[in-house]
Subunit: 292 residues, 2 copies
């Protein structure tokens, strides 16, 4: 147990997938939680979470589950969060902290304001920058957050005590915690997460437009594999993110489109030195980059 | 030794990097070559090739080296191939086969026609679909081609005997050999190799255009890492490829640009169902794809 962090008596996970499940397992390993209750609309996932001891108690009823909780973790897709907040609002004890793992933050902050207006001091929006090719409780792991970033985007109303409590719990999971505004968060992630995702979908569709697409794909190799890996991601999740972060994504997408138009002009005019400068700027930056 | 393939007496590598060096090591392991001579303008690379027994003899003089060779392997960048062909043309014995590993094929076929016009029956253009994050003789490996594709794009003048000889040697290296026209090759690789490469450069430059680019990059994670991996590639090599395969690349790049414009319109109009369909078409195809 981390000496300076008081343990949770009752943690409630709303959604028991990879992200929530890994948070639970990491807190359990740190000795920082007495009881974990999991709520999920997918019974199969709930059973796997029980079987792997990700949770101690399974429930299909969020309102009943949160009674007496000292931390509620919203680990469901952003599209379901509003409904969940609405359901739990009347049943939260006054000091129960509510946090989430949504990958867009301005829209989630809006949801807190709408559905938990009387409870905002205890609400701490957050986004763990971690994932895995696998999903679900079956893939949850107590070291998913080890050395990974966790972004807090506190509301103006969030109490210092609540923010520091959430920070300490994530640090106990091994995460490196930083704080910014929800708008900053959404701008940064539009640039380095949402836009490459949409470009990968667009490129994949362009390949499929070829009359001999199947033959082309037959010869695709490691460069294609890595460039398009994210194009295999869940369409529902990304539609939600694209809708939630529309403005920032449009800015970034248009910036990429402008650069592609510039490149088309360079290729059209067979401008070797221009291409070389264009490619070199990118390759120098990419080779200098290291993942945190 | 592969029972049905006659060994080479003298193999000459023009360029002793990863691709040529791995070809040499694989043939040596198969017992299919008596002597390997390496020619490189980079003396350091030549010394590493000697030290690792990739080659038996090092030379700085292509014209002198090819004398008495029964196979010449052009493993240098496409931009240097014309000069090399010109240098070796007067010194090839009549039955010496000349092949290459250029990643564009229509332009290399043109070079064969220009510089080895009297020797076309023995010329067999080829492209091994393999690579590594490392380069140079130091990274050469005898199993680089194991299970990988090798595309032959014979000239109308290439003799059947020469084509079958090159095919058998590559098969002995573990490669799966297929044959197509140079134009087919260049169209396919524009779609699944050259265009993603240029899109990755363009996206990387778009990120760098952000006033807070350094902060954005600081939060970039695994999706960004894989999507931009190829943006770290050599700018000179890719300028040469973009110039060599301009027309096919322009067609594919414009197809991607059109799809990105379509996507911008979908995001602008907050068209959730339209986005979902767009994303799903891509993700279904990507998840169905398997690398050969």
């Amino acid at each position: 147990m981390s000496a300076s962090v008081a343990p949770l008596r009752k943690l409630v996970l709303l959604g028991t997938g990879l992200i929530a499940g890994s948070f639970a397992l990491a807190l359990r390993r740190a000795g920082l939680v007495a009881q974990i209750v999991g709520v999920d609309c997918c019974e199969g996932n709930l059973q796997r979470a029980l079987a792997r001891s990700v949770i101690d108690v399974a429930s299909l009823n969020a309102a009943a589950a949160v009674q007496g909780a000292d931390l509620v973790f919203l680990g469901a897709p952003v599209g379901q969060m509003g409904k969940l907040m609405q359901a739990i609002a009347p049943h939260l004890t006054a000091d129960c902290i509510v946090t989430d793992a949504g990958s867009t933050k301005q829209d989630v902050c809006e949801l807190y304001r709408t559905h938990l207006a009387g409870h905002l001091a205890q609400c701490v929006p957050a986004h763990p920058i971690a994932g895995s090719a696998q999903s679900g409780a079956a893939a949850a792991s107590d070291d998913l957050y080890q050395g990974r970033r966790l972004v807090l985007t506190p509301l103006p109303e969030s109490s210092h005590v609540a923010v520091e409590r959430v920070r300490a719990l994530w640090q106990a999971c091994g995460a490196e915690v930083c704080t910014m505004t929800a708008a900053e968060h959404d701008g940064i992630f539009a640039a380095i997460s949402h836009t490459p995702q949409l470009l990968a979908y667009a490129y994949m569709n362009a390949v499929l437009d070829n009359p001999d697409a199947a033959r082309c794909l037959d010869f695709a190799a490691t460069g294609f594999r890595d460039f398009t890996r994210i194009a295999g991601s869940n369409p529902d999740m990304w539609r939600d993110i694209a809708l939630a972060n529309r403005c920032a994504i449009l800015t970034e997408l248009k910036q990429s489109a402008a650069r592609i138009d510039e490149l088309i002009a360079l290729v059209e005019s067979a401008d070797g030195p221009g291409m070389r400068a264009f490619f070199e700027r990118a390759s120098v930056a990419r080779n200098a980059w290291n993942m945190k």
